[in-house]
């Protein structure tokens, strides 16, 4: 007999798996971003000598520019835009406001016994637009992050 859980917990487990995968990617990207700053939190720079553009420059004069390395690279974080998980599940009894489902029997071979009522479930996740309230909150946070003299 397969173990049983509720349909709600099954869908939640799948949603958490997708969210967990995205979270791990973001964590890795944040660590990558951190690598462009040194231990004193200053941006890692790439000094370059370029021909001077100053009006009073003599031939052969050079200027030194030190752009932050981060500003020279294409920042393009990956995000899950759409995810779809489709599966069939055997429905069981109604429990409260939820439905029990048979969890897949583990150990490899599927059971050969008769199955009950089967349901095909398709869960589609899609990156949502940021709600207006969150957008406003992010704008406020961005303002508060403005540089302060140290």
């Amino acid at each position: 007999m397969a173990e049983r859980a509720t349909l709600r917990s099954l869908i939640r487990a799948i949603a958490e798996s997708v969210a967990g995968a995205q979270h791990e990617v973001e964590r890795r990207q944040a660590a990558h971003l951190r690598s462009f700053f040194d231990d004193d939190l200053r941006p890692v720079r790439m000094p370059m000598r370029v021909p001077s553009t100053r009006a009073d420059a003599a031939p052969g004069d050079e200027d030194l520019i030190e752009p932050a390395l981060l500003s020279l690279l294409p920042p393009s974080p990956l995000r899950i835009a759409e995810a779809q998980v489709a599966f069939a599940v055997e429905l069981g009894a109604v429990e409260g406001d939820d439905v029990l489902v048979a969890l897949p029997e583990t150990g490899g071979a599927p059971s050969a016994g008769a199955r009950g009522l089967m349901a095909n479930v398709v869960i589609r996740f899609r990156e949502a637009e940021i709600p207006g309230g969150v957008d406003g909150l992010l704008a406020q946070l961005s303002k508060s992050r403005d540089a302060s003299a140290d």
């Binding site: 173990e3 859980a5 509720t6 917990s9 099954l10 487990a13 799948i14 798996s17 997708v18 967990g20 995968a21 791990e24 990617v25 890795r28 990558h32 941006p43 790439m46 370059m48 000598r49 370029v50 021909p51 001077s52 031939p59 030194l64 520019i65 752009p67 932050a68 390395l69 981060l70 500003s71 020279l72 690279l73 294409p74 393009s76 990956l78 995000r79 899950i80 835009a81 759409e82 995810a83 779809q84 998980v85 489709a86 599966f87 069939a88 055997e90 969890l103 897949p104 583990t106 150990g107 490899g108 599927p110 059971s111 199955r115 990156e127 946070l141 961005s142 992050r145 403005d146 540089a147």
Partner: protein, 172 residues
């Protein structure tokens, strides 16, 4: 994410579902980082090279005699005349079937129901037998893409970009 694959009696038991989904995404992210690093290395290498020099004659500035020319030299930074490799992953799409190998429910914690944990392996990619039992076989289709720069990072980049200004080279 778990670091070690779960193996019992020499048999692979599967990975958490988040790892199966996150694995290809992390691989793409790391590829993205490697591409960014190659861009940085290129800029560093080519930026350190001496500028390309061109000499040519042009009509003398300041109204010289007709036909009078002057020789000028142009120093052009190499970075400004070569294409800079700036490849990045724009979109990644992966699909696979996950065969659930383990579905366990944590004990309920007070009022909160027990948490369900799914683990599985990537199932074979051959043609699917419609008569076969598909229970425990989850078809997964993920599309990830890049979608602009986050607001906070955009502001950091603005600040960094505005700080790019030439300074006289030491000892000049």
């Amino acid at each position: 994410m778990s670091d070690e694959p779960k193996i019992r009696n020499g048999q692979f038991l599967g990975l958490p579902m988040a790892d199966l989904i996150g694995g290809p995404l992390l691989a793409a992210t790391e590829a993205q980082m490697a591409l960014a690093k190659s861009t940085a290395a290129f800029i560093e290498e080519v930026g350190a090279m001496p500028p390309a020099q061109f000499n040519f004659d042009r009509p003398k500035a300041g109204g010289g005699q007709e036909g009078e020319t002057e020789r000028v030299r142009l120093d052009v930074p190499l970075l400004s005349i070569v294409p800079i490799p700036s490849l990045g992953i724009d979109e990644i799409n992966f699909k696979f079937d996950m065969q659930v190998t383990s579905a366990t429910v944590d004990p309920a914690d007070g009022e909160a129901p027990g948490k369900l944990r799914l683990e599985g392996v990537v199932a074979g990619s051959g043609p699917r037998d419609p008569s076969a039992d598909q229970a425990g076989n989850y078809n997964i289709d993920i599309r990830a893409s890049t979608k602009g720069v986050p607001e906070g990072l955009a502001r950091v980049l603005d600040m960094l970009n505005s700080a790019i200004a030439p300074s006289v080279k030491p000892g000049a």
